[in-house]
């Protein structure tokens, strides 16, 4: 059967498939940003982390033939970048947002510098799980192919929720993010907690990058991330600093991202670029609707955006 056989039904199907595929990077980055912001810092540099992770995962997978090793290396590289961010943003009078912008430039510079030789060759990709084998329609079969990494992300979300709610370490992070003074009184080292939170968050973002280059879209080039690391910040606000809601928000964003290509697949080419901008427009709209000058958002860590 060809794509025409499904006709306009191809559009919702393609959007659903795109949601399953395209939301994983959002999920990993937003979970990473969530744990970072819970500790009271913002990491805009996850965009650079995502790119570096994507490049390294692809390069390692190509050189060693093992995509899973690539995923691991991407996570570790993310941790290194996170370490720089965590150390620098905790110096006196250094603004974490400015450090984030610098880390975007630096991270993408590193990724493009070392990634140049890997634009052409094709690396082994991550294996997939076929949930659509029951169907005779090839579109449905390909739509329901999902990556195990996505499933891992889906499992991490409730785990992180439990971690924040019920563990001692989760309490430490929340305390440092909500009230550094109270945390200090409890005898917690703010520097260490923030350091670990940012490094852990960057690890997740690096893995999100590996997903980009090793599964979907599944190749390395310089335009692979196009702002997904930045949207994570807005996504976390939208998700109210709640890991489970990060999952829903990521699905929504993955879906928004898939609208443009889905319409193109049935031959609607007009306004293609505008449809491609829909995740950004959606983010902005969500921020306009949910923010308010009169109150702080519920769930926002108290020390977020202050310089304490």
């Amino acid at each position: 059967m060809s794509a025409e056989a499904l006709g306009w039904w191809g559009v919702p199907l393609a959007i659903a498939a795109g949601t399953l595929r395209g939301s994983a990077p959002f999920l990993f980055v937003s979970l990473g940003e969530c744990i970072t912001e819970k500790s009271g810092k913002i990491n805009l540099g996850l965009e650079g982390t995502l790119l570096t992770g994507a490049m390294l995962a692809y390069a390692i997978s190509y050189l060693t033939g093992s995509p899973w090793l690539g995923v691991l290396v991407a996570g570790i590289a993310g941790m290194l970048l996170g370490f720089i961010h965590a150390w620098l943003s905790q110096q006196p009078r250094v603004n974490d947002i400015a450090v984030g912008i610098a880390m975007i430039i630096f991270g993408s510079g590193i990724a493009f510098f070392f990634g140049k030789p890997f634009i052409q060759p094709s690396a082994p990709q991550l294996p997939t799980i076929d949930l659509g084998a029951w169907s005779s329609l090839p579109q449905i079969q390909s739509a329901l192919k999902i990556s195990p990494l996505f499933l891992i992300g889906v499992i991490i979300a409730p785990l992180m929720q439990w971690f924040f709610k019920s563990t001692r370490w989760g309490l430490f992070i929340r305390a440092v993010g909500d009230s550094p003074d109270a945390a200090k009184a409890m005898g917690i080292s703010i520097f260490k907690v923030r350091m670990l939170s940012i490094v852990a968050g960057s690890f997740l973002a690096g893995i999100g990058g590996a997903y980009l280059s090793l599964y979907y879209p599944g190749s390395w080039n310089e335009r692979i991330s196009s702002g997904q690391g930045l949207m994570a910040v807005a996504l976390v606000i939208f998700a109210r600093w709640n890991p489970i809601q990060c999952l829903y928000a990521s699905l929504l964003f993955g879906g928004a991202q898939a609208i443009g290509p889905a319409l193109q697949s049935v031959g609607v080419n007009s306004h293609y670029y505008l449809w491609n901008a829909s995740p950004y427009i959606l983010t902005l709209a969500i921020m306009i609707i949910t923010c308010s000058p009169k109150r702080t958002l519920t769930g926002a860590p108290g020390a977020l955006g202050t310089n304490s």
Partner: protein, 374 residues
């Protein structure tokens, strides 16, 4: 009048950025050495390609012009404590506006067309970033994130317009708008290859400096940036200030887009999106948001950008080398921010410990008036 305190403060404000630049040069050298290039030869090439002779220095100046204008887009709002990084978007939108005006006015005399293009570029860019200010004031939307998202929206809009409604059918593999007539372009300063955009940039920086340092408006802005609560109590119209500053900032970036369109490309296409916006952020930060210092830093960074090609040809380094260099500079400069007032040599004797930077320098950048999302 320069007294002892001023002298120390000024030398601190000069020495620390220079030390930071040197330090980032060293780090970049180490990076080059690790990547297999001789760092001293790389420095030599950068110098030669950027400032080595009159020809290459003109290349540098051509690149410095949009950098100066785009730096103002970050530097002006920083006086209010706002971190705006929508330079790229405002530049692109300004370029679109300028092309639209240039095409609409094409039958008028060249001076009118050029003025129309500049005005259109400034208004479009100004409204674009002005909207960021309005969202900040009325909806408390974080200005960094909204301006960043608008970058992507602006680029999508550019691609849409030059690929569809504004497309010149003769532009085949690179969709572009209809070109502006040769007579209506900005032209070069007599005796050089440098276009008049450089003059625009210098004038804009001087005006911005005057506005911030010498006018009541600038004083009000600096007050609100220093302590927003005190400014509100003093009855300053913080919201109007925010939007006015954002409008001015955006119009500077929009003018940069107009310069790119009317002096370099002659039409709007994806070349507009050449990262001058992101480099402008860096210029603003290195210059510590001082418009006069921004002119110098823009020339310095313009030189580094101009040397990208030679690094590729002579040393086999990828074009992203320049990006790595910029990132390193940015990180080191941010770290140096934390050294102000902490170094013993810039302190006066005992009893005046913790003397801050000089009177001309800024309060530290971080000053979000509220938690980020609120």
């Amino acid at each position: 009048m320069i007294n002892r305190h001023n002298w120390r403060g000024t030398s601190e404000a000069v020495c620390i950025p220079i030390a930071a630049l040197l330090c980032s040069l060293i780090l970049f050298g180490i990076f080059c050495a690790l990547a297999g290039a001789n760092p001293f030869e790389v420095y030599g090439s950068i110098y030669k390609a950027a400032f080595g002779n009159w020809y290459s220095f003109q290349n540098t100046l051509i690149r410095a012009a949009p950098l100066m204008l785009s730096a103002l887009c970050t530097a002006l709002p920083a006086r209010l404590g706002l971190v705006i990084i929508g330079n790229e978007g405002a530049l692109v939108i300004g370029g679109i506006g300028a092309v639209a005006a240039g095409l609409a006015l094409s039958s008028a005399p060249a001076t009118i067309v050029q003025m129309g293009m500049a005005l259109a570029g400034m208004i479009c860019g100004g409204l674009w970033i002005g909207a960021v200010g309005a969202l900040r004031h009325y909806r408390a939307v974080n200005e960094t994130i909204s301006s960043l998202l608008l970058n992507y929206i602006a680029i999508a809009l550019l691609n849409h317009l030059v690929g569809g409604p504004m497309r010149d059918p003769t532009s085949l593999n690179k969709p572009s708008s209809y070109p502006i007539a040769e007579v209506n372009m900005l032209g070069t300063i007599p005796g050089t290859r440098v276009h008049y955009g450089l003059i625009y940039g210098l004038i804009a920086c001087a005006l911005a400096y005057f506005l911030i340092q010498r006018t009541t408006f600038g004083f009000a802005a600096r007050t609100a940036g220093g302590n927003i609560r005190a400014a509100r109590i003093a009855g300053l119209p913080v919201g109007k200030l925010t939007m006015a500053i954002c409008f001015l900032a955006g119009s500077c970036a929009g003018l940069a887009g107009m310069v790119e369109v009317a002096a370099v490309h002659g039409r709007a296409n994806e070349s507009l999106n050449a990262n001058y916006g992101y480099s402008g952020i860096l210029v603003a930060f290195i210059a510590r948001h001082n418009p006069l210092a921004a002119t110098l830093v823009a020339i310095l960074l313009g030189g580094i950008l101009a040397s990208g090609g030679i690094l590729q040809r002579a040393h086999g380094l990828p074009d992203a080398t320049v990006l790595v260099f910029q990132g390193l500079v940015f990180l080191v400069v941010l770290y140096s921010e934390s050294l102000y007032g902490r170094l013993a040599i810039f302190k006066e004797g005992i009893g005046k410990k913790g003397q801050g930077p000089g009177p001309d320098s800024l309060p530290p950048i971080p000053n979000p008036q509220a938690p980020i999302p609120s």
